[in-house]
Symmetry: C2
Subunit: 64 residues, 2 copies
């Protein structure tokens, strides 16, 4: 599953740690998701989309 998180995070001038603390997860979690080690939970995905003012479907792309 691909995602645009790094790109949108940088557009906002945030560090991985900033995103992490805003969403109450650890920096390692944000790092792992950006580097596609695994997909986030649904709840975290929705909170990420909201933070970046986009939708889950725009932020994450299902492998068909």
């Amino acid at each position: 599953m691909k995602n645009n998180i790094r790109e949108l995070r940088k557009k906002l001038g945030l560090r991985q740690e900033d995103v992490a603390t805003t969403l109450n997860v650890t920096r390692q979690t944000i790092n792992a998701i950006e580097n596609e080690k695994y997909s986030p939970t649904l709840e975290l995905a929705m909170r990420l989309a909201k933070l970046f003012d986009t939708t889950v479907e725009e932020l994450f792309h299902l492998d068909e």
Copy 2:
């Protein structure tokens, strides 16, 4: 986390088992999600939204 899956499933005239086999999960998984025992993975949430021709944000509602 609330969701509209049961309502949309019935609108399509599908059984829990139909949804399950379409998405390659078990009936118990669909049942647990409809009854909000737990939230699905991001991948399953996106596949559910696609099946019901809607978005993750319309199908699932974050508790604020």
